[in-house]
Point group: C2
Chain length 146, copies 2
DNA sequence: GTGCTTGCAAAGCATTTGCAAGTTA
DNA sequence: TAACTTGCAAATGCTTTGCAAGCAC
């Protein structure tokens, strides 16, 4: 989740990235910004379908793909064969659960700062970096209280 | 690629992990250990088909899946929707090319040691770690000499 | 001999594509 | 109005599954 943005801010950001403003794009980007859960295309579709019944799953896929290709959002590969999306572009690490196929942020500032510093001034010969993907794979453990 | 292993070493390792020794398993694990390229199931199949024409692609998938579920090898998600495999279980970082869908090792000892040290004594509450996946996404740049 | 593994073909599922109709700038 | 975007349905492509025959132990 990234901080709450009002409709104007959303629209401005989409324009900045060269997108025509459509209801679908605004709704999809807004949904992704609000979500804490790094949703899949299908999850976004399911949430929005309630409010916009005419929305198509193919549009959600196309929109998320164009967003990520222009660098507005980032793709995350899940442990199953699904792709999740994240509006938070900062260098940070994910926890990926093999059992639930869910993705959480690993909130560890020390690690984020360390990685950021490491890559800040660094380039890789013959490679143009466009994104980082740091994941810890494993299993969410149930606590007794649940 | 991990260091060359003779047939006996391969077999011993497979047994250690509780696998029955079949020609297919030995060939698949050997192929993966020799490969520098983090191949997909299909790439492994294509390489082995020449020598073992009766080999089935489904067997390659099943075998790689059981290897990775027992922790003998590791899965890597590519930038397209394919899964690649790696016999090198050490903490290391991959370069993933969006254009060629190829995966290379990012050979940087400083980074590997840093990550290893960071996670050596660290645990995450309510999460059982089984693997790490660190990737740098981008594009391999052509050099003029190519 | 028993239980695990293989190969085949079919099925499954996430994602992409083609195109006519609708919408944005 | 011109170019881009949407929604639908069909297609694609990677991966999994069911099952009979084969093999390891």
């Amino acid at each position: 989740m990234i901080q709450r943005q009002n409709p104007n801010e959303l629209a401005t950001k989409l324009k900045q990235y060269g997108f025509r403003l459509t209801h679908q794009r605004i709704a999809i980007y807004n949904e992704l910004c609000q979500s804490k859960e790094h949703p899949t295309a299908e999850a976004i579709y399911d949430s929005l379908k309630v409010v916009y019944p005419e929305l198509s799953l193919a549009t959600v896929y196309k929109t998320l793909d164009s967003f990520s290709r222009k660098g507005l959002i980032r793709k995350i590969k899940g442990s199953d064969n699904s792709t999740h999306f994240d509006a938070d572009l900062s260098i940070h690490t994910h926890l990926i659960c093999n059992k639930t196929n869910s993705i959480l942020d690993y909130e560890n500032n020390e690690l984020s700062v360390m990685l950021e510093n490491f890559f800040k001034e660094r380039s890789i010969s013959n490679f143009r970096i466009s994104d980082f993907q740091f994941s810890i794979i494993g299993e969410i453990e149930k606590t007794e209280s649940t």
